[in-house]
């Protein structure tokens, strides 16, 4: 099976758009796995709706990446014909769903990073990115509200829900550092006014997380000396390969299949 490679030395803008797209699609796929399994109908709808937002954002981004790539590939090629080392999503997006507490806490931690990111990106000098970001920001604000309320409800809930939230926080915390990394790809775009500096957005994220965890009676984890990293370089957890095997099965098994 052929794999499409987008080289690590591809233009920074293309790499950056792919990173954003990969995180959105992988997280959207994870959320879609809740369909038929959520603890209640309303939350099943909520998670499916959020999945739809993420997948929609991914489509806009892949479509743009395909145009930047300029080699005749489509958004579907980029989504379905790349192997694990070619993926550039945050590791936190690819982790298995775990229980409902784990999933909503991830939603909260990620939305709290993405919402200010999209807001800043909406002022990008790149008109296409700015348009995608302005749309995504509104959706992220809604995700943040929904997931944040659940974090508070479960953290400040029963002994059982509090215990599960605490465990989820311990599991997920080491994956949050990656959301604020800026490498050479990012630095080039920051210098050109195309992308915001993720480090500059970290204080807003920290304030949001501290506020919600406090209301949820959950202890803010101590700063980690070491954080998980690698997604943006294509170094992933063992979970991404399994996710791609499911997500890419149809277009890989039936090349060129259309609905």
């Amino acid at each position: 099976m052929t794999s499409i490679l987008v080289a690590q030395d591809a233009p920074p803008l293309l790499l950056h758009v792919l990173r954003l797209a990969d995180t959105a699609l992988v997280l959207g796929h994870r959320l879609s796995e809740w369909t038929g399994r959520a603890p209640m109908l309303e939350e099943e709808l909520a998670l499916a709706n959020a999945a739809l937002d993420y997948i929609g954002q991914a489509r806009s981004l892949y479509d743009y990446a395909a145009r930047l790539d300029g080699r005749g590939r489509t958004e579907d090629d980029l989504a379905y014909l790349r192997d694990t080392p070619d993926w550039r999503c945050w590791l936190i997006a690819e982790l298995p769903n775990g229980d409902f507490a784990h999933s909503v806490l991830r939603q909260f931690l990620v939305a709290a990073a993405l919402q200010p990111y999209w807001r800043a990106l909406a002022a990008s000098r790149d008109a296409t990115l700015a348009a995608i970001a302005a749309k995504a920001e509104k959706e992220a604000a809604y995700h943040l509200r929904h997931a944040g309320e659940w974090v508070i409800r479960l953290g400040d809930g029963t002994d059982e829900s509090h215990r599960r939230m605490t465990e989820a926080l311990e599991d997920l915390w080491p994956y949050t550092g990656e959301m604020f990394e800026a490498d050479a790809v990012e630095a080039a775009l920051v210098a050109e006014g195309v992308a915001p500096d993720p480090l500059a957005l970290r204080p807003a994220w920290e304030a949001m997380v501290a506020r919600v965890l406090a209301e949820a009676t959950l202890d803010l984890p101590a700063p980690c000396a070491w954080m998980q990293s690698g997604g943006r370089r294509g170094v992933h957890t063992e979970h991404l390969g399994h996710l791609l095997a499911v997500m890419q099965h149809l277009p890989r098994s039936y090349p060129g299949a259309v609905w």
């Binding site: 959207g28 309303e42 939350e43 709808l45 909520a46 709706n49 959020a50 999945a51 739809l52 937002d53 993420y54 997948i55 929609g56 954002q57 489509r59 806009s60 008109a127 700015a130 348009a131 995608i132 302005a134 749309k135 995504a136 509104k138 959706e139 604000a141 809604y142 943040l144 509200r145 929904h146 944040g148 309320e149 508070i152 919600v212 209301e215």
Partner: protein, 169 residues
């Protein structure tokens, strides 16, 4: 205005009228003009008409269907070589929903979005939403998400009916 420009302006108006009459597949009581999904139309260099539509949400599954229906409506209206273009900017807002659209929505049993979209306080603050059946503002949120991406689920504590609320965005 030249004869050509006049003819183009007339074509554009016909295209807007034909496309604007297309009903939203998920809320058929609203047209895409009522919703603000229809953004613009123009006559292209090759003499065809091009219509701009914008999604309510990035992943709105109705966009594909709307694009097909717009093309069909333009063809049925006898407009030449119709094309549909998806535009993201400026981002759609419920502010673009027409007053007529809001009234139709209420009559259909869906609480319309507030007249001006404001950013709600993140937590705890509830906006006032009137029940589309009895008009009471004694209503509460059941779920932040409803049957489609653009709706939330609420309940009226006066008449006890549940209802959809078109989210303010």
């Amino acid at each position: 205005m030249s004869v050509v420009a006049l003819a183009d302006a007339a074509l554009r108006q016909r295209a807007l009228a034909a496309a604007g009459a297309v009903a939203d597949p998920e809320i058929p009581v609203l047209s895409i003009a009522d919703l603000g999904v229809l953004r613009d139309a123009r006559v292209t260099e090759d003499g065809g008409v091009e219509v701009d539509i914008t999604p309510t949400y990035s992943g709105c599954p109705a966009m594909g269907m709307i694009a097909v229906q717009v093309e069909a409506a333009l063809l049925a209206a006898g407009l030449p070589a119709p094309r549909v273009r998806l535009v993201l900017s400026p981002a759609w807002t419920t502010d673009w929903m027409s007053a007529e659209g809001r009234a139709k929505l209420r009559d259909y049993g869906i609480a319309p979005p507030a007249p001006r979209a404001t950013r709600r306080g993140l937590f705890g603050l509830e906006e006032e939403v009137a029940c589309p059946r009895c008009g009471s503002t004694a209503t509460e949120t059941l779920s932040e998400f409803g049957s489609t991406a653009c709706k939330a689920l609420r309940r009226c504590t006066a008449c006890r009916e549940p209802f959809d609320h078109f989210k303010c965005l």
